[in-house]
Symmetry: C2
């Protein structure tokens, strides 16, 4: 094997390893959101405690992925499409780390919520959670498969989460106005719905990064133009 070929092969292996770690990171982040919401719905304090204290693996992975991306950039000085893939990986990594933090925020609000009697049966919040998780999964699939149509569908889903968030807010406001004893726990449910909305926003960011990565077309801020040079 020629040296140049060996470097190319090494690069592809390293890039594949980076992508594999990013999928693991996404799996961890998604799992933590799922457990936090399930713990809230099932009133399972110990599940929520596992989330608030268990962010070491995801934080370690966050740093490892960043370092892998840096090493790839420094050693191989990739161009064009490969460069866009690695920069996208750095951004996606940041988004996933924030999703992990938001799972902790959900679990913390959930812990406070469970100190009170239930305000209402939780229906829209787990639905928001399901959509947000699905958006994360699809955004990562879109990244791996370089599938801009799938990434676009993630962007479209964001409106559904926003309207559920508004619905949750209006409904909880009604409870609070009718019975002031529900104010404190209802506020924590409002916060949970905001955290889920932000998770959907991070999935949306990932979808936008995928579209840019694949097509060098910038869809952020409605700017569907080729990037300036």
């Amino acid at each position: 094997m020629e040296p140049a070929e060996r470097i190319v092969r090494h690069f592809q292996e390293d890039l594949n390893a980076l992508q594999k770690r990013l999928i693991e990171m996404a799996g961890l982040a998604e799992e933590r959101v799922r457990v936090a919401i399930e713990g809230l719905v099932a009133r399972d304090v110990s599940a929520l405690d596992r989330i608030t204290t268990g962010d070491l693996p995801i934080n370690e992975l966050h740093i490892e992925i960043d370092n892998r991306a840096f090493t790839l950039l420094a050693l191989h000085q990739p161009m064009a499409a490969d460069l866009r893939t690695i920069v996208a990986a750095v951004k996606i990594n940041t988004d996933l780390e924030r999703v992990g933090d938001l799972a902790v925020n959900i679990a913390e609000a959930g812990r406070r919520y469970l100190a009170h009697p239930p305000v209402k049966p939780l229906i829209d919040i787990p639905r928001m959670g399901d959509i947000a998780q699905q958006m994360l999964r699809s955004a990562l699939d879109a990244f791996i498969r370089r599938d801009t149509a799938l990434a676009q569908r993630v962007l479209d889903e964001d409106d559904r989460v926003d309207s559920l968030k508004d619905q949750v807010f209006r409904e909880l406001l009604t409870y609070m106005l009718q019975d002031p004893s529900t104010i404190a726990p209802a506020l924590d449910l409002v916060l949970v719905s905001r955290h889920l909305e932000r998770i959907a926003d991070h999935a949306t960011n990932i979808g936008e990064d995928v579209i840019f990565m694949v097509s060098a077309r910038d869809v952020r801020h409605g700017a569907a133009t080729l990037p300036r040079k």
Copy 2:
């Protein structure tokens, strides 16, 4: 001038231009937070409307800075410290764009708040706003001057914002419990304080990126270690 020297000089000019645009971006983001909070305190609806509708310049700058960073990576394939600076710029750019979005969120909550009689004199919220803006300014100064001590001070400030946020929450909860007519507007103030907390978090992220950029030392997740290779 030799070709190699010309490329180096070109690189430095492009890197300086990138940093200059990033300072502009930070100035815009900070200004928007300032106007949103001042508009809320002064009950100035038109100031808030300027914020909710005026995010075009910051969004354009966001895309331009990303493209400049890409071009620098692609054309010059920088190593080590320069590479870390450019990747830090990409991350800081993302944080600043989110700060701009959060200014819009503050202005939107402010608009809803102003549809009601005032709940209370606003003292802690403008204080949180001042600290968050100062953190942003210091984080950017630290980036430009490669000043890790200043970046560390930004990280330390984050606790003050968090404790003000908790204080705002407890106080507003008291108002809501005493007088249900304050629930809707008080909720919007809670949201404003959460948005400010997130702005401080973005300043903290920037501080962490500066420390990594300068020292290749990772302080995220308390991981004060050299990055793995």
